[in-house]
Symmetry: C2
Subunit: 378 residues, 2 copies
């Protein structure tokens, strides 16, 4: 017997009623029955995106939705400002390059958030920049960027702002309309408590003008086709029926809880996790801009980071994430987004303490769990 716990920044665990919704007999997507579900889900998406803009559903991973943003906003030869500060910021650059778009790169040190003033400076220096691409929660480093301030700056220019909120949406606040974020990209397998397989993208009227003007070759990810279909309460190609039914279930749960409560819950789990790291004598990888969706901590000297993650998972059934790319073996990441509760955080921390002890790291056993309990009691 082994109970499994998933504390990774995507996929995240699914509420049982969401899982069971997917096991229902499949229905056809071009029926009134499914159209009702799609309509409800579309309204729910607007609610969680905090927008009156259209939110398009794409059958793809989050990356497909990021590519949809790039190709639909820009054409070969255009210039974009890209904030890099981790693996997913770099992905914007890679996609832009694939489309012959010149990326002007703001190279933020991994573990830091971008200084919004740097974006103002770069936009001023180069009026050719048509779009700014950045990230809400940079999953690879556990950093949240200050999207509110960035949006305020970009709004004053002719450029549009596109935010990768794949990791973050539904866990960390992003006020699409109130802040004026033109394009928000999300994925299903993070704060939305679903399996991977759906991408989402909201588009403001300002950004829609670029969509209509873009000359990038596109078909499956063509948002003009998505818009035509959405206006008839449909998707342009066969919908991922089971995932959309699951989406609708998950959104119902979220709407019952309300966004204010959801963000408060995530903040508490993040604070508890950070307090635990401190109590265990572990350094946060991103102390100045730590995300409320995922906490990255430095692997302490003398400890094998990859073995730590592997032992927690394979021996004790607690899956956390290691570091990616240049952070491989150097950090571990505990996610607290989506269908993760206080109890999961406590379980994860206790398991971390157990394995760290076994690996010879010195600290007061129970100190991390106690620190988390103290936060949760507040």
């Amino acid at each position: 017997m082994k109970k499994e716990y998933l504390l990774t920044p995507g996929p995240t665990p699914l509420p049982p009623q969401v899982s069971l919704a997917m096991a229902q007999p499949i229905i056809h997507h071009r029926t009134p029955q499914f159209q009702e579900i799609l309509k409800e889900a579309s309204l729910g998406l607007k609610w969680v995106f905090q927008t009156a803009n259209d939110v398009f559903i794409i059958s793809s991973s989050g990356t497909g939705a990021m590519e949809a943003a790039v190709m639909n906003l820009l054409s070969y030869g255009d210039t974009a400002l890209v904030v890099q500060g981790g693996k997913f910021g770099e992905r914007w650059t890679e996609i832009a390059k694939a489309y012959g778009i010149t990326p002007e790169i703001i190279d933020v040190e991994w573990g830091k958030s971008v200084a919004p003033e740097e974006i103002r400076k770069r936009l001023k220096a180069n009026p050719q920049i048509k779009a700014v691409f950045t990230t809400l929660c940079e999953t690879s480093t556990g950093v949240d960027n200050d999207i509110a301030s960035i949006a305020k700056i970009v709004k004053e220019t002719s450029a549009v702002l596109a935010v990768d909120a794949i990791s973050g949406l539904g866990a960390v606040d992003i006020k699409t309309d109130a802040w004026g974020v033109d394009v928000v990209v999300a994925g299903s397998q993070k704060g939305l408590m679903l399996p991977p397989g759906l991408g989402f993208i909201s588009v403001s009227p300002k950004a829609w003008k670029l969509v209509e003007a873009s000359k990038s070759p596109r078909y499956y990810l063509d948002l003009r086709k998505a818009k035509k279909a959405l206006d008839k309460n449909d998707t342009p190609f066969t919908s991922s029926i089971t995932l959309i039914i699951a989406l609708n279930e998950a959104l119902k749960i979220m709407q019952k809880d309300g966004l204010e409560y959801i963000f408060k819950r995530h903040k508490a789990m993040a604070e508890a996790t950070r307090a635990a790291m401190k109590a265990l004598g572990l350094e946060l990888f991103a102390p100045t801009a730590a995300s409320d969706g995922v906490t990255a901590a430095n692997v302490p000297a003398g400890i094998d980071g990859e073995k730590l993650v592997k032992t927690m998972r394979d021996t004790y059934g607690v899956t956390i994430a290691g570091g990616q790319d240049e952070l491989k073996g150097k950090v571990f990441r505990i996610a607290h987004m989506g269908f993760i509760a206080e109890s999961d955080i406590i379980t994860g921390l206790a398991c971390l303490e157990k394995v760290l002890t076994q690996m010879g790291y010195k600290f007061n056993l129970g100190a991390g769990v106690k620190a988390a309990e103290e936060v949760f009691l507040k």
Copy 2:
């Protein structure tokens, strides 16, 4: 109480064990546990594709995989030969045009299959043609094309052959390697008995040279990325975990049955359905090239085709498909692919007889069901 039956050419019903596999707690995609499943599924795909070529899994609808074929094989300015003879043949043309590829179109009358000799003639006349795009089962018209003969012709030229087998694979025989089909595209929600959301594409060594040479802008659907990942038993972007777990379950069921039995079963259901149409005095829409995956029949004079489909579905719970595009209201389509059994065909035919009677169409009640029973007894 109403029992629901789905007799549509995608989505098709799911075996209960496939549905339940999706309701299991989600696991992380970058774990040995998932890699084991992905490996097994990849081998199963090679089996059902009847190929030693790589079969890539894409998180997209079938159209995404079709676009992957076009963009990865060809570049702006290239010429392709496209067989049109229905909605899905036309999709090849639309995608080619979106990428600045010149489509040379063979315009086959809807309801007919393409004459392979026409392909030979066109290839001879225009040596610029780099790829031939056609369809195994044209779902919109219920036509199967003679892929074996087409492949034989294309193989002798420098062009590659890409077949849309989205509708058909796992129901109708396509011997990828034995016939020499360079690229086979499939989708999850037809013969493979899965929900929509996965696309598949197999690529021969001859076609892979084009993939490496293509200059089309691409990222999410870039098969070079897919290949790099597959070689490490991975997917380039977050896998659609639940769908891949379901795929593995479905492939296990299919492998237990064996391809020979599967194709025989589909052929029997198709013959039974066609015999029933004849017994009911209904004309097949595609009498000379009727598919073993889906049967299209003309709506008899004086009967409202859309109302027929709607009544069967909304009143009696039997969902069949109407006509698409220019065939709207003119044909109805009964699918017999995937997890559909003799019992479903009998149920569907009885319901069709019931509603046709109610709508005033004259025939011997029970004649269609009887004709199907006779075929099944053979």
